[in-house]
C-alpha cells in the first residue's frame, strides 16, 4: 500500500502493462525524454527505451493513424493526445476509422489500442484546452470510454484498457493529476464497464464522473450534514460499456436521480443516462431527473469565471437540496 498521485498512477499503470507485454508501446508528443507535458509518463522512456516510448512530430492524425495501423497488425499501442480538445484535429480516426474497422471488415480487423488524453477544466487554460469531451467519444459506436477519478482506478482501468481487444479512450483529468490516493502493491487490473457506489445513501442518487466525483462526494457530506439528505454517490468510471445495472439499481432504491457533469450541457453523458432512467426506471422515480452541468458555453480563462462555470460542491448542494425539498 502506498500513497500515489493520479499523475504517477498513470505511469505506474502503463509500466505494469509494458512489463507484461512487449507489444505495448507508446507514442505521443513530448512523452519520452520530457516525460509528458503533464509529467504523467515520467520514467517510462528511461525504463523501456526509445523504441517503446516514442516522441512524435505535432501530427495528431499520424499519431492516431499509426497507433491504429500498429494495433491492426499486432501491437498494443498507447497513444497520447496531449489535451483532449486536440481530439478534434484527429477526430476522423476516432469517429470513422478505429471505431468502424472491426464492423466494416466483418471482424477481420480490430484495433486494440488506448488513447490517453488530458481532459477537463479547472486549470485556467481557456476555451481550447479545458473541455470535458467524454461525449465526443461516447457518442461514437465502436469505441470504449473510461474516465477514472482516483489513482487506484487509473492503474486498474489502464490495465483493463490496454488488455482490451477494442479501442479505448482513456480520459485523464488534468485537475486530478496532483491529487493523491492509496494504492495497493502489486498488479492491479480493473474491469471496464463497472461503476462504483462510493457512498451509499437512501434519498437520492448522484451520478458523477472524474473531477465531479470528489465534488459530488463533498456535496453528499454537506447534504447530509446541513439538509438531512442522504445521497448515494456513484462514480460512473466507464461510459462505454455503461454499468446501467448499478445506476438503475440505485435509482430503484432512492427514487431520485441527479447527474453531475463537467461537460457543457447538450448531449452530455448525463443526458444519455437520464434518458435510460426516464425509460426503464420511470415508475421508480419519485420526482424529476435533474442534470447539474457546466452551462452550454465555451470555457472562460479567468479563474473566477471558470470556477463559476464548472459544477462545484456548493452548486450541487444548492441544487439538490432545493429540488429535494420542493
Amino acid at each position: 500500500m502506498a500513497e500515489l498521485t493520479y499523475r504517477d498512477a498513470v505511469a505506474r499503470g502503463i509500466a505494469q502493462e509494458m512489463q507484461r507485454d512487449r507489444n505495448v508501446v507508446m507514442i505521443g508528443e513530448d512523452i519520452g525524454k520530457a516525460g509528458g507535458v503533464f509529467k504523467a509518463t515520467v520514467g517510462l522512456y528511461e525504463q523501456f527505451g526509445p523504441l517503446r516510448v516514442r516522441d512524435t512530430p505535432i501530427s495528431e492524425q499520424a499519431i492516431l493513424g499509426a497507433a491504429m495501423g500498429a494495433a491492426m497488425t499486432g501491437l498494443r499501442p498507447i497513444a497520447e493526445i496531449m489535451f483532449a480538445d486536440f481530439l478534434a484535429v484527429c477526430f476522423d480516426y476516432v469517429a470513422n476509422e478505429m471505431s468502424k474497422m472491426r464492423y466494416m471488415t466483418n471482424g477481420q480487423l480490430g484495433c486494440p489500442l488506448v488513447i490517453r488524453t488530458g481532459n477537463g477544466g479547472g486549470v485556467r487554460f481557456g476555451a481550447q484546452h479545458s473541455q470535458s469531451i467524454e461525449n465526443w467519444t461516447m457518442m461514437i459506436p465502436g469505441v470504449k470510454v473510461v474516465a477514472p477519478s482516483s489513482p487506484v482506478d487509473v492503474i486498474g482501468l489502464m490495465a483493463a484498457a490496454v488488455r482490451d481487444p477494442d479501442p479505448v479512450i482513456f480520459h485523464e483529468h488534468k485537475a486530478l493529476y496532483a491529487t493523491k490516493g492509496e494504492v495497493p502493491d502489486g498488479e492491479i487490473v480493473d474491469t471496464l464497464g463497472t461503476a462504483k457506489i462510493l457512498r451509499a445513501g437512501s434519498d437520492c442518487t448522484l451520478v458523477a464522473l472524474a473531477l465531479m466525483v470528489p465534488r459530488a462526494l463533498e456535496a453528499a457530506t454537506a447534504l447530509k450534514r446541513d439538509h438531512g439528505i442522504d445521497a448515494e454517490v456513484i462514480d460512473v468510471r466507464s461510459l462505454v460499456p455503461l454499468d446501467t445495472r448499478t445506476i438503475l439499481g440505485s435509482v430503484a432504491k432512492t427514487g431520485r436521480l441527479f447527474t453531475v457533469e463537467e461537460n457543457p450541457r447538450l448531449c452530455g453523458w448525463g443526458a444519455e443516462i437520464a434518458s435510460i432512467v426516464a425509460d426503464e426506471a420511470f415508475w421508480d422515480l419519485d420526482g424529476p431527473i435533474v442534470r447539474i452541468t457546466t452551462p452550454h458555453i465555451p470555457l472562460p480563462a479567468a479563474d473566477h469565471l471558470e470556477d463559476l462555470a464548472l459544477p462545484s460542491a456548493a452548486r450541487i448542494v444548492e441544487k439538490v437540496s432545493r429540488v429535494m425539498n420542493g
Partner: protein, 350 residues
C-alpha cells in the same frame, strides 16, 4: 493539364518510360502474371459496370478501368505478408493481391459471399488473409494507418512492407502531409503510391494543386527522392515497386511514387464524366495499359495463343464469380449487430 501530363508520360526523360523493349530483367513468367492480373481486373471491372447497369449493385462503386497497370505491377512485386492499404477505388488492388473474385464482386453486390458479407460494401474491401488491410473511404486516412503497420514491422523486426495506394487529389489533404513526414522521420518500411489519374472527383487536379506533379513535386518536402513513372505500363510500375519494396525491406525507409494514369470511366457509378475535355479520353485510350501490355508481350515474343488463353481463362473466371455471387443470399440479419466489439457483439451496457 490532361494532355500535358500525357505528353509527360510519353517523354522518356521526365518519366521512366518503357517504350522500347530492353534487357529482359523482368522475365516471361512475371510478364505473363502482370498481364493476367491486368486482364482479370479489366474483365472484372467491366462486369461490375454491367452489374450495376442491371441494378444488381447497390450503393456506390469506383472502377479502376484504365488504371490496371498500377495494381498489377504492385500486386506482382509484393510478397506474401506485405500489406496493402487501399481506397474506395480498391477493387483492382484487392484482386491483385489474390483475393477471390467472387468475394470482391459479392461485396459490391452486398451478398453473403462478399469479402465482408456485405457489411462494408464496395468502398471498404478487406481481405486480411491476402494482405489487404482494408480500403478506406475518407480521403487520406489510410496513409497514417499504413505508417502504423510499417512501424509494427520495424518494431518487431518483421520483413513485410506496407503499401498505400491513393489518388492525386489525396495529396492536398492534411493526413498526406503528416504521414509522409512521419514515415520519413521514422524511416518506416512503407511505400506510398499516388495514382495520378488527373482528376479528383470531377475537378481536374491541376486546378486545385500548387505544383504540377502533386506527389512527385512534393517528395523533397519529406527528404524523399522524386519518382514519377508511367502508370499505364505495368513493367514500369513493377520495376518501381520492386525498387521501393527492396529499399523498404532493407531498412532504407519510405518511398513516394507518382504513377501517371487515367481512369476511363467516371469517378463513380453516378458520374458520366462530362467534365473531360473532348479528345482526352481518346488520347489516353491509345495508351490503354492493356494495349500497351499486349504489345509488350508480343515484343518479347510471347505467342498469340498464350495471350488468348489467358484472356479466355479470365472470362471464365468472371463468369464463374458472377454466377456464384448471383446465387449468394444476403447475409443473415444477425450480422447487423455483430462484430462491433471483439466479443462478437455490440453491447454498450450491461
Amino acid at each position: 493539364m490532361g494532355m500535358e501530363a500525357l505528353e509527360m508520360a510519353s517523354e522518356p526523360s521526365a518519366v521512366a518510360s518503357e517504350g522500347a523493349p530492353r534487357n529482359d530483367d523482368i522475365g516471361v513468367d512475371t510478364r505473363l502474371e502482370l498481364f493476367r492480373l491486368q486482364v482479370e481486373i479489366r474483365d472484372c471491372e467491366k462486369r461490375a459496370y454491367d452489374l450495376f447497369l442491371q441494378n444488381m449493385i447497390k450503393g456506390t462503386s469506383h472502377l479502376s478501368l484504365g488504371q490496371e497497370a498500377v495494381a498489377a505491377g504492385f500486386g506482382v512485386a509484393m510478397r506474401k505478408g506485405d500489406k496493402s492499404f487501399c481506397t474506395y477505388r480498391g477493387h483492382a488492388h484487392t484482386l491483385a493481391r489474390g483475393a477471390p473474385m467472387e468475394g470482391m464482386l459479392g461485396e459490391l453486390m452486398l451478398r453473403d459471399i462478399g469479402l465482408m458479407r456485405g457489411k462494408g460494401g464496395s468502398m471498404h474491401l478487406t481481405s486480411v488473409e491476402h494482405g489487404v488491410m482494408g480500403s478506406y473511404a475518407i480521403i487520406g486516412a489510410h496513409l497514417p494507418i499504413a505508417c502504423g503497420s510499417a512501424w509494427r514491422a520495424q518494431y518487431l523486426g518483421e520483413k513485410d512492407v506496407s503499401v498505400c495506394f491513393f489518388g492525386d487529389g489525396t495529396t492536398n489533404i492534411g493526413a498526406f502531409h503528416e504521414a509522409l513526414n512521419f514515415a520519413a522521420v521514422w524511416k518506416l518500411p512503407v511505400v506510398f503510391v499516388c495514382e495520378n489519374n488527373l482528376y479528383m472527383e470531377y475537378t481536374p487536379i491541376g486546378e486545385v494543386t500548387a505544383v504540377k506533379h502533386p506527389a512527385a513535386d512534393r517528395a523533397a518536402a519529406y527528404g524523399l527522392e522524386r519518382i514519377l513513372i508511367d502508370g499505364n505500363d505495368a513493367d514500369a510500375v513493377y520495376r518501381a515497386a520492386q525498387a521501393a519494396l527492396t529499399k523498404a525491406r532493407e531498412g532504407g525507409g519510405p518511398s513516394l511514387i507518382e504513377c501517371l494514369t487515367y481512369r476511363h470511366s467516371g469517378h463513380s457509378r453516378a458520374d458520366p464524366a462530362k467534365y473531360r475535355p473532348p479528345g482526352e479520353l481518346e488520347e489516353w485510350m491509345k495508351r490503354d495499359p492493356l494495349i500497351v501490355y499486349r504489345q509488350r508481350l508480343k515484343d518479347f515474343g510471347v505467342a498469340d495463343e498464350k495471350i488468348q488463353e489467358i484472356a479466355a481463362e479470365s472470362k471464365r473466371k468472371v463468369e464463374q464469380a458472377t454466377a456464384a455471387c448471383k446465387a449468394s443470399p444476403p447475409a443473415p440479419v444477425e450480422l447487423l449487430t455483430a462484430d462491433v466489439f471483439a466479443d462478437g457483439g455490440w453491447a454498450w451496457r450491461n
